[in-house]
Every structure is written in C-alpha cells, then in structure tokens.
C-alpha cells in the first residue's frame, strides 16, 4: 500500500503546491491519477518515488519510510517518466544492460531480465538498434521496458501513451493490464479519460494541489445522472406555470436561467415532467440525461477553462 498523510510541499520561490494531501493506494490496484496540466501529478509521483522530499507529512510505501528504508523501497518500485528518460546514443539492449546493473538484487539474472523486458514490450527485434532511431512508439516501449527490469511491486507510469500511434498505445495498455493482473500495483497518469475509464479500478482527480475526487471507478461512474432540460425561451422563475412550480416542489428539481435540472427518482417521474411541459406548450431546446462519464466529472471538478 502507498499511503500519503498530510503531505505539504513547495518548490523554492513558489507558493505551496500541496497543503495537506492525504491519499491511499491499495496494493494490487491500477490507480488512475488525473488532473489538468500543472495540477501537481508529476510532483506527487516525484514525492512518492523519493525524488523529492515533502516539507511536512508522511509517505509510506508498503509500510516503509524513505527516511529509513530508501534503498529497500527503491529496489521494489520503478518509474516510467513522461520523458524518454534513457540514452538515445545507446542501443535498446545497452540501455537495458546499464539500468539493470543499477539494481543489485538482479545479479546473475540480468540477461534473463533484459530478455523478459524486451519480450514484454515487443522490442526483441529492435534490441540492437540505437534508441535515437526509434519511432515515438518504440521509445515509449523502451521507456516502459526499463521500468520492468526489477519486476517492481509498484510501477509508476507518467503518461505512458502520450504522442504515439494507436498500435503502440494498444500494446502498452495491454502490457499494463497484464502487469496488473500479475499483481503489480500501478499508478497511472494520463490525459486520455477513456483510457483511464477502461483501465483503472480506482481514480483520483487532482487540481491546484488538492485531491478533488478519490474513489473506485465504478462508484464514480455509477453515481445517479442529472436530467437537464433547456428551454427555447428562457423565462423568469416567477412566470413559470403554477402546475410546473408544483411539480418542481414535489420532485426537488431546480430552475435557473431557462434551465431545469435535477435527479429524477425514476423514469415515471421523467415521463410525468415531459408530459406537463408539452401540455404547458413550453418549447424544449435540449435534453441531456444518462450515465456520468469521467470526462464530464473531470470538467465539472476542474472547470473547462484553458490551462498552460
């Protein structure tokens, strides 16, 4: 389990980024961390992987603390960063050979582990090619392969499918599923909501250094959906027909700026409302109703304005 308690962090000459973050990621989960650019996702990963030290609070990885067990923690986790963090002048095999040598626990199994990483990422045929000659998809796969060398118990993947072709993306997503099935805890960040929806079993949405939502993916998506009816000609709430006012009071629906919205109790309630609107001859411009998507929740929580 990864546990963050009351984490505070600030970069030098920058306002506090995190002011008391709490987060728990249970072992074996495939956890999606979402947030707009600059929300603090990469910083949070850097804190969890010991690259940065929190100003306050506690981080425990599988019950261990970086202050006392740094080497042990780092031996059992791996990071595939957003950047192509390897040596483009070296071949894929030379890169894997170098990084595998940095894990003392691999020892005599080094060659086997390199072969395993190459097979898991489908790079066997490219092993002798310098990495600088790789396409974006191959580079992403090599980035992932390096993080598999120590068979990590926890794997941090920071936007592992950004900027690649659909085939490589499919391949990487399948590899992530397989790794998770084999027991690896995975923390995954992405801007592709549908990817997270398909892949992750738990999700947290983060923005401005705060966790805005943190739950199982099904719990988030199965929350009751809102019915929203927009009228063609917006009228003041006081000039609504009396029958409609009475229905609103009965169902708990709200009316504002020509838009009526609420959580219908059942389909009968929806049917009754539409019948009444037809009888009162109120022209409808748009009706929205259905299962919540991660994207709609993301926009609801983080707003839709542009970010840097």
């Amino acid at each position: 389990m990864i546990s963050l308690k009351s984490i505070e962090f600030a970069y030098p000459q920058q306002a506090n980024l995190f002011q008391g973050i709490d987060l728990e990621i249970i072992s074996g989960s495939l956890f999606g961390l979402l947030g707009p650019n600059g929300a603090g996702k990469t910083t949070l990963i850097a804190l969890m992987t010991g690259q940065l030290k929190p100003c306050a609070g506690e981080i425990h990885i599988q019950g261990l603390d970086y202050r006392h067990d740094r080497k042990r923690i780092l031996s059992n986790l791996a990071v595939a960063p957003q950047d192509y963090a390897f040596y483009p002048q070296l071949t894929a095999r030379e890169n894997l050979d170098f990084f595998s040598n940095l894990y003392p626990q691999i020892g005599a199994q080094r060659k086997a582990r390199i072969q395993e990483a190459l097979e898991l990422t489908g790079l066997q045929d490219q092993a002798r090619k310098p990495a600088r000659q790789f396409s974006g998809g191959l580079k992403r796969r090599l980035n992932l392969a390096i993080s598999l060398l120590n068979r990590p118990a926890i794997l941090f993947l920071d936007e592992p499918t950004v900027g690649i072709d659909p085939q490589s993306r499919h391949f990487i997503l399948q590899a992530i599923r397989d790794l998770n099935r084999s027991g690896t805890t995975i923390l995954y960040t992405s801007h592709y909501m549908e990817e997270v929806e398909q892949l992750c079993d738990r999700v947290a949405i983060i923005d401005h250094g705060r966790i805005l939502a943190h739950d199982g993916i099904n719990e988030i998506l199965n929350k009751p959906a809102r019915l929203q009816i927009t009228f063609d000609t917006p009228t003041d709430s006081t000039s609504l027909p009396a029958s409609l006012k009475a229905l609103l009071q009965k169902t708990g629906f709200e009316y504002a700026n020509g838009c009526l919205s609420g959580l219908p109790r059942d389909t009968h309630a929806i049917h009754e409302l539409l019948k009444l609107l037809e009888a009162e001859k109120l022209k409808i411009q748009q009706i929205t109703y259905g299962r919540q998507t991660l994207e709609s929740l993301f926009f609801e929580l983080t707003q839709t304005h542009l970010r840097d």
């Binding site: 850097a46 992987t49 030290k53 960063p81 957003q82 192509y84 002048q89 070296l90």
Partner: protein, 397 residues
C-alpha cells in the same frame, strides 16, 4: 554499479565524434604544427649561438692547427671570412658579436716571450655586445690559446708527461671542476618548441573535457534521465563519481598519447623530438591533479548552465582565456613582465610549470608540490561547489 556508470560514460563518449576530435585530434594537430612552427624561434640550434667572425692572414696558420683550436670555443659559432674588410662589414652590421683577425706573424708571436704588437691577434667587439658576453669571448679565446700552447709544449718535448691529455685537462682546470649540464633551457629558463608544445596543448585538451561532460550531464538533465536515476537504489554520489572517474582515465590516456606524439611523432615530420628526462613518475600525480581540476571545472560549468550551447560557449571561452593568460598559446617567457605575473593565476599555467619542473629542471616532488597543491585545492573546492549546485538543481525539478 559504479562500473556500469563508468562503462556507460565511456560508451557515450566513444559515440561522440565531436568530443573525440576535441580531446584527441585537436591536441595532436596543435603539438605537431606548433612544435614545427616554433622550432626556429625556440630551438637550441647552433644558429642561436653568438657569432664570432675570424679572418686569417696567412695560410701557414692552418698547418699549425691553431685555427681548429680557436674555431671550437664552447658556446660560440665561429664564422670564417676571406677578407678582413668583409668581416668588419659584418661586425658593423651587427651580424657578429666580435671579430678576430690573425696576422701573418701570429705563429711567431706564439713562441716569442714579448710578441711584437703587429704579430698579435686582434679582437674587436661589436658596439652592441654586452659586457658579460665580451668577457666570455675573451675567456674562451684565452682558454683555446692555452690549450694550443700546451699541445705545442707537449709535442715539442719541453714538458714530458706519461699522460698528456690528463695533464692538459688538469692545467686547464677541467678535471678540477664537475660540470653538470642541465640543458641550455634550464640556464635560460626557456623550453624548446617541443618542450613547450607537448605539455601546453596536452593541458589545453585536458580542460576540454568540459564539452563531453556538460553534453552528457545536460542531456541527462533535459531528458529526465537524471531524475529517473534518482529512483534507483544507488548512492547519489555515484552519479558524479561516475563522471569523474572515466574522464580521469581519458585524461591519462591523452597524456600518454601526447607524450608519444612528442617523442616519436614530431621527429617523423622533421622536428626535434621530446626528450624524456628527470623523475618521470611525477608525471602521474601531476596529470591526475590537472585532470581533477579540469573535470571539477567542467562539472561545475555543466551544473550551472541550462543548455549544451551555453556549456560549449562558456567552457570554450573560459578555456581559451585560461590558455591565453596561462602560457599555453604564447610561452610565458616571451610575455611582458606584468603578463608573466598574471599567468600564475591560470590553473593551466600551474600544470605547465609542473611539467617544466619535471621534464626541464630535473625537479623532484618538493619542486612540483606547490603546483600539485594548487591544482588539488582548486579541484576540491570546485567539486564541493558542484555537489552543492547539483543537489540544489535536483530539488528544483
């Protein structure tokens, strides 16, 4: 683990053709070109010895062997003239330091107890000949004459001795003086062109490790590889040591190669080869000290700049300035006095002086120690600064 980091650095360097050119080909080219180009200006050649003109009035003198005796005064070059007028013309033109004319009656003067003034040898100094040089010329001619006289006395049987050569040496004082020749360079304090070029361009190229070190460190930083490496269970100090150790090896390799170029390469092109003399084992601590100073400076630059272009510009310019003031490009002894004092501020000059102490001055550890101390202090100080800035930059990410 550390071995893997070192191996990786060497692999990266072996694929960086620009760095290899700067580290190995550039100094070889400089050594060969500059050793040959400055050979005449800085050589020990006979042409540099003060010239004495000689005119002999009578061919009778040749037979008596006196001309040969007078023609070999140590450290001077004797130029024979057919006419007295031509010799005096050269003297007036300052081509000669002095002129000697032997009249026809000089053979008579050698035997006479009181030679007639017209039979005596005439020595005329150039008006520009320094007093010290005039004394040396006179002493040298007197010694040559004494040697000739002694030979004459031995051969005529006036002085009998079972070992004439030894007696002659004793009379002339040579067997009573132990002469140690530390080479002409020591006497004058100036190296020859190859003695200057080999260490100078070697040190210059050693400091150019700034290019590959900053290129790899900045690429690692910009690509996030350095951040990734911080998530591996390795001591963080290994990452800096992993840069220091391979480049120390590269610098030692450069030293060996440049010395071989000086000893064998320069003569192949018609130049005077480098002579290795003195306490050569001292070259190892000296090279290590220069290397550590150069690598520390390179690491500091690499941690302070933001792009490879910045590193190349700052590293290149600082190297050129250190070389220009440090006596690398222009030998210190041809600089004006105030510039010679400034040269001591450059670490390249400390290294160069260390090489001169070993190869030219037969220096021992005590003689090289000040240079070693300065270089190692610089290396230690800059390395600590590097560690400070490196850790700071990792926290900022």
């Amino acid at each position: 683990m550390l071995l893997a980091i070192i191996q990786k650095e060497l692999r990266l360097l072996s694929r960086d053709i620009h760095a290899l050119v700067v580290l190995f080909l550039m100094p070889i080219a400089f050594i060969l070109i500059m050793s040959l180009a400055l050979q005449d200006t800085m050589s020990d050649a006979e042409e540099d010895h003060p010239k004495i003109g000689m005119w002999i009035d009578s061919p009778e003198m040749q037979a008596k062997g006196i001309v040969e005796t007078l023609s070999s005064p140590d450290g001077f070059r004797v130029v024979r003239f057919e006419t007295k007028a031509a010799m005096l013309e050269s003297l007036r033109a300052d081509d000669l330091t002095s002129a000697v004319s032997l009249p026809a009656g000089f053979a008579r003067a050698l035997k006479a107890p009181h030679p007639a003034p017209e039979d005596r040898m005439v020595l005329i100094y150039s008006s520009t000949a320094p007093l010290v040089l005039r004394r040396l010329i006179l002493a040298s001619l007197s010694k040559s004459l004494a040697a000739y006289q002694m030979d004459r006395l031995f051969s005529s049987g006036i002085i009998a001795s079972p070992n004439q050569a030894a007696q002659k040496q004793k009379f002339l004082g040579q067997s009573l003086i132990t002469v140690r020749d530390q080479s002409r360079s020591v006497a004058q304090g100036h190296p020859s062109s190859v003695q200057q070029s080999v260490p100078a361009w070697l040190i210059f190229s050693m400091f150019f490790v700034v290019i590959p070190i900053s290129t790899t460190l900045l690429t690692e930083k910009q690509q996030g590889t350095l951040q990734r490496l911080s998530t591996f269970p390795i001591p963080q100090g290994y990452l800096l040591l992993g840069k220091l150790i391979p480049y120390l090896g590269i610098n030692l390799g450069q030293t060996l190669l440049m010395i071989l170029v000086g000893v064998y390469g320069v003569p192949l092109l018609g130049g005077v080869g480098l002579e290795l003399q003195g306490e050569l084992w001292l070259l190892l601590p000296l090279t290590i000290s220069i290397s550590l100073a150069a690598i520390s400076l390179a690491l500091l630059i690499a941690t302070r700049v933001r792009s490879v272009e910045q590193a190349t510009t700052i590293g290149g310019i600082s190297n050129l300035i250190l070389a220009a003031i440090g006596g690398i490009m222009v030998p210190t002894h041809v600089m004006p006095e105030f510039m010679q004092a400034t040269a001591g501020l450059s670490p390249m000059n400390w290294g160069l002086e260390g090489f001169f102490s070993i190869l030219l001055r037969n220096g021992d550890l005590g003689m090289v120690a000040p240079e070693l101390f300065k270089l190692l202090s610089m290396a230690g100080g800059l390395f600590l600064l590097t560690v400070f800035f490196y850790e700071k930059s990792m926290d900022k990410k």
